[in-house]
């Protein structure tokens, strides 16, 4: 398959390792991956903060950049994010219609119909749950709200994780409760967000896992930001990085490759 990767603005700027892992994983599975150079952001931050009018040009830009998937030039668009996929699928057409642009709305729907979150693409579209990964760590999985309740990915990420060799998967208590990120919510209502984060961290720590994973870099930035601040020794790793990792990457010398073993993912990156 010819698959375009939607890096997401956050993934591009702050968490390129999740984007790289997505690319490497799909290449390993035999697919052709491309990176549309014009891509920027899906506009979710604007929509969810109430700037629906300002979101229109951002949506239009996204639809232009990823338009080839609607024409069949590419087979699919994949994003390592449930939230951004959710925005494409559930918000873009609404934003366009609210602005009275029916043509844009229909085009957005056509792009959305071929846009998938990573676990959806793997399990539903490509039909694989064992991607041949190796990750010898104790891991707990946080189902992010938008992947769970907007996309309804269900247990697809867990199916993928269960098939990873060496991975010890531990259930996260109260897993389905929000971590408190919520985009600008974390800044506008930082006290409430922090209270929610505290409970999420308590549950993560209760699992005694060394890694907390999820399908969204944004929520992981939040949970990881808290776990890091308290020097808990638990790191956050994107699902894509775990699935991309193999025996070749999981050696101490390769600590900086996908799913690397230190709580300094960025410095260790290069």
């Amino acid at each position: 398959m010819k698959i375009a990767v939607m890096a997401t603005c956050l993934g591009d700027a702050l968490f390129p390792q999740a984007v790289q892992a997505t690319v490497q994983l799909l290449q390993r599975l035999g697919h052709t991956v491309l990176f549309p150079p014009g891509q920027t952001c899906c506009g979710q931050m604007h929509v969810n903060t109430g700037y629906l009018r300002e979101a229109v040009p951002v949506v239009r830009h996204h639809v232009e950049v990823f338009g080839p998937v609607a024409e069949g030039t590419w087979d699919a668009v994949v994003a390592p994010s449930g939230s951004c996929t959710g925005s494409v699928r559930h918000q873009h057409a609404v934003v366009a219609r609210r602005a009275g642009d029916e043509r844009l709305a229909e085009r957005a729907e056509a792009v959305a119909a071929r846009t998938f979150e990573l676990s959806e693409l793997l399990v539903d579209v490509l039909g694989v749950s064992d991607v041949g990964a190796y990750y010898p760590h104790r891991v707990t999985y946080h189902p992010t709200c938008h992947s769970l309740r907007m996309l309804r990915v269900g247990d697809k990420p867990l199916q993928l994780l269960r098939a990873v060799r060496g991975l010890e998967l531990v259930d996260l208590p109260d897993a389905e409760v929000c971590c408190g990120f919520g985009g600008t919510f974390a800044v506008k209502n930082s006290d409430t967000s922090t209270a929610m984060l505290a409970d999420k961290m308590r549950n993560v720590l209760d699992t005694r896992a060394e890694v907390c994973t999820a399908g969204d870099s944004s929520c992981l930035m939040h949970i990881g930001g808290g776990l890091g601040r308290l020097r808990t020794g638990v790191r956050t790793v994107h699902l894509a990085e775990i699935l991309a990792s193999t025996e070749a990457t999981q050696t101490p010398a390769a600590a900086g490759s996908p799913g690397g073993v230190r709580d300094e993912p960025v410095e260790a990156q290069r």
């Binding site: 700027a13 920027t40 990881g224």
Partner: protein, 507 residues
């Protein structure tokens, strides 16, 4: 009559009548607090007893609800049916309201129309005065909380006695409700014992905090009121248009006492509480108890139609309240907020509500539905309006939609009300400018790349440890809300875009 304009059938002499649906007027009732949600939440979050009480209570109700909802194979069909019935009601509300008025009147009741909270309070006060009574017993009612009826009656020299146990606790504690269904959810039993000992005349000074002992003390206290009161005031859960029947569902039986013993019954009801036919109750009497108290069926379901000679109240008044509902109905995107049956399931599953409680919202309608319904009823007057902050009191996690028995898409309504909040700005705020700038950067890869260059500074800040624990001014002004509790990831050496350009995706 258009299907989007509710209209008020009663002939009125009112200079304010512009013919357009109006919001609930400022300064009336209890739909607006005095501080923004984040500030109020900060105070509430620091109350450790509150956190414990709320966490425990919402946890118990969530588990009970999940258990009884899972029992029904057709739960999702019931939700669809509830949603469809309410959508139908809203599409022909004027017609159904007139049908209700006709049927209530034909069965010996009197219907009054109240445009706003003050008008509703005035109508009820005058009706009580006309009976010569100086006290009323009350059935738990959100509509009367919304209008501030108790305070209005008190100002007119009429004592209003709350008879719902939780409302009684709130009233005796000189407190305000913090939950739609369980108004004293923020209190634990030892606090309730203390309130009873302090405020309840003739209470046994050896009263324990055993729930049964507390309930018996309230029972003895209330029994005297039931036997002496000549007037009762209630709300209503449902009104059936084709029969003129009103319905109240409850757990304690105090409502049944109020609805049957006094000579006069006055019911204040929001206009959205209608169902078209008696058989529609079948759907809601399954949805409501399972969603609210987590029971298969509520212990008491009282229905009444007009007056029945020689049995129950001999005088019945129905006051139909608009108070902003016409404005909500006129908004095609927001109208679904009127489908709410006040079950509170969305409050109990909301991670924000569970931590801050109901008082932080400033409105009698807290939680996810309150965060949309409140600003929709009042309108948003500008960036400084406390209600402008309510739609942001959510992480948009979506748990409320899954729990809602009538499938109100609350996250979508929250976003719509955020847009209303932004549109209320009379001059650009710092956030407005930041969002506009971001939109410019995000519509061109070149500009976006230029914006990403600023990340290089972040690497400098992060130092060798690879994490940022605080940021310098001016970034700190906004970001301190983040770095107060969380590290910021150090920006990477190269962005994904740069990596792709360098390697073409080949490692």
């Amino acid at each position: 009559m258009s299907t989007t304009d509710l209209g008020m059938p009663a002939v009125r002499d009112d200079s304010r009548d512009t013919g357009l649906p109006t919001h609930s007027p400022a300064g009336q009732g209890h739909l607006r607090g005095t501080t923004s949600f984040p500030r109020a939440a900060r105070t509430e979050l620091a109350d450790t007893q509150l956190r414990r009480n709320l966490g425990k209570a919402t946890g118990i109700i969530r588990a009970k609800r999940a258990g009884v909802v899972a029992e029904l194979e057709d739960w999702e069909d019931l939700r669809l049916a509830g949603s469809a019935i309410k959508a139908d009601v809203m599409a022909r509300l004027p017609e159904l309201l007139e049908q209700l008025e006709e049927n209530v009147t034909a069965r010996g009741g009197t219907v009054h129309w109240a445009r706003d909270a003050e008008e509703a309070n005035r109508i009820v006060t005058e009706l009580v005065r006309a009976t010569g009574a100086d006290e009323v017993v009350k059935v738990k009612s959100m509509a009367t909380q919304e209008t501030g009826l108790n305070e209005a009656l008190e100002a007119a020299g009429i004592a209003a006695w709350e008879t719902d146990l939780a409302e009684l606790i709130v009233q005796l504690g000189h407190d305000t409700p913090s939950h739609i269904l369980v108004p004293a959810i923020h209190r634990n039993r030892s606090e309730i014992r203390e309130i009873f000992l302090r405020e309840m005349p003739d209470v046994d000074p050896a009263l324990s905090d055993d729930p049964r002992a507390l309930a018996m003390a309230a029972r003895a206290h209330l029994r005297r009121k039931f036997l002496s009161a000549r007037v009762a005031v209630s709300g209503a859960n449902f009104a059936v248009a084709d029969t003129g029947t009103l319905a109240v569902v409850e757990s304690e039986g105090n409502g049944r006492m109020c609805l049957t013993l006094p000579r006069t019954l006055i019911t204040l009801m929001g206009v959205e509480k209608l169902v078209p036919t008696w058989s529609d109750l079948e759907v809601f009497l399954q949805l409501l108890p399972r969603s609210s108290t987590g029971e298969r069926m509520n212990p008491y379901t009282s229905t009444w139609t007009g007056v029945t000679p020689g049995d129950g109240p001999q005088e019945f008044h129905l006051v139909l309240l608009d108070n902003g509902r016409s404005a909500v109905l006129a908004d095609p995107d927001g109208r679904a907020a009127l489908h709410c049956i006040r079950c509170s399931a969305c409050l109990n599953v909301c991670p924000v509500y569970e931590r801050v409680g109901g008082h932080a919202y400033g409105s009698v309608y807290p939680g996810p539905i309150g965060a949309v319904l409140t600003p929709m009823l009042t309108g948003i007057s500008g960036a400084d309006d406390p209600n402008a902050s309510l739609p942001y009191a959510s992480s948009l996690c979506g748990a409320c939609f899954d729990a809602c028995p009538v499938r109100i898409d609350i996250p979508n309504l929250l976003v719509q009300q955020r847009a209303a909040s932004v549109e209320s700005h009379t001059r650009p705020t710092a956030q407005d400018l930041a969002m506009k700038a971001a939109a410019v950067a995000m519509t061109s890869a070149g500009r976006f790349r230029a914006a990403e260059k600023g990340l290089g500074l972040g690497r400098l800040l992060a130092g060798r440890e690879g994490r940022i624990t605080s940021l310098p001014w001016p970034a700190s002004v906004v970001a301190s809300h983040w770095t107060g509790a969380r590290d910021v990831p150090a920006p990477p050496a190269e962005t994904a875009r740069q990596w792709w350009e360098r390697t073409g995706g080949g490692a």
